[in-house]
């Protein structure tokens, strides 16, 4: 168990290194730079024009639709991994099962495509 967790220690060290480097650079910059804050410096930069409204704005539904389709095929990929990791083990049966699964999903994709869901209007 401990050997196993120690292998994952790399991940922890990696995270620590990321934080340390980021902190170091920002900390150094904070030490070196002069600090004279003013309101004009704090506002968002929009090509030199004064920004209108607040930073958050309503986005369009088509972003959401693409994200939703992405999740659907992401889930498909999740099912593909365990099969692909050991594909020869499941033989013809596994191949048929996975083909049926993919064909059914392709059916859904064709349907979404024909309905114009993949078009960015």
């Amino acid at each position: 168990m401990s050997v196993y967790l120690r292998e994952y220690l790399t991940v922890v060290w990696f995270g620590v290194a990321a934080l340390a480097i980021g902190g170091l650079l920002l900390g150094l910059a904070a030490l070196v730079r002069p600090s004279k804050p003013s309101y004009d410096k704090g506002i968002a930069y929009e090509s030199g024009v004064d920004p209108v409204g607040i930073g958050w704005s309503q986005s369009q539904i088509r972003y959401y639709v693409f994200a939703l389709l992405f999740v659907i095929f992401d889930v498909e990929a999740v099912f593909l991994f365990p099969w692909a990791a050991n594909v020869e083990r499941y033989g013809t049966f596994g191949l048929v099962v996975m083909l049926v699964f993919i064909v059914l999903l392709l059916d859904g994709l064709v349907y979404a495509w024909k309905r114009g869901l993949l078009r960015w209007v």
Partner: protein, 192 residues
């Protein structure tokens, strides 16, 4: 306490703090985007717990699907609805609701907690007894093999029908954006 169990304890404890802290953040944050980020913390903590239980594959899926795709979806919904038009949540339609919910929540946590603590003695399973773990198999991809054996073995029918479920999801996505087929006057349907 030996070195190994101490390490396990540290991992478990930090992951548990992440999960609970994130969950509390989700329900207390005023800004919905911050709440969504709290959810990321919770889901990531769950992934760490999966790792601690030697379920690498589930941990990876947890990060890719949940912390990645699904939270992005949440953020799109939040952006779609507009963060600036936040609702005033202090108005109560039924005044007793919130205290009652708090009492219920505490009671439920107490009940389930007590049940789990008392079950500890009854459910100690020796290694190799009951559910097999990746450690028993001894290889690195034993985990994923075990999952696949279940998925393409006894649960293959449920797995196949999951694809029908995904078709339903595609149909739902289409419905969200489709135009109304016939031009029925709004007045006719809105008061029905």
């Amino acid at each position: 306490m030996s070195d190994a169990t101490f390490l396990e304890f540290v991992v478990f404890f930090s992951a548990a703090v992440m999960i609970l802290g994130g969950a509390v953040g989700v329900i207390t944050m005023k800004n919905p985007v911050h709440a969504a980020l709290g959810l990321v913390l919770t889901l990531f903590g769950v992934a760490v717990q999966f790792v601690a239980m030697q379920a690498h594959f589930l941990a990876a899926v947890q990060v890719i699907v949940y912390a990645g795709a699904i939270v992005v979806l949440f953020l799109f919904v939040i952006m779609l609805l507009g963060v600036d038009e936040s609702m005033d949540l202090s108005i109560e339609p039924i005044p007793i609701q919130r205290p009652l919910a708090a009492v219920m929540a505490v009671g439920l946590v107490g009940l389930v907690g007590a049940a789990i603590v008392r079950a500890r003695d009854a459910l100690i399973i020796a290694p190799g007894d009951g559910i097999a773990t990746a450690a028993d198999a001894g290889t690195h991809d034993a985990n994923i093999k075990q999952l696949a054996t279940n998925l393409y073995g006894d649960h293959v029918f449920a797995f196949q029908l999951t694809s029908v479920l995904l078709i339903v999801a595609v149909a739902g996505t289409v419905l969200l954006t489709r135009k109304w087929p016939k031009d029925v006057a709004d007045t006719e349907s809105s008061d029905a």
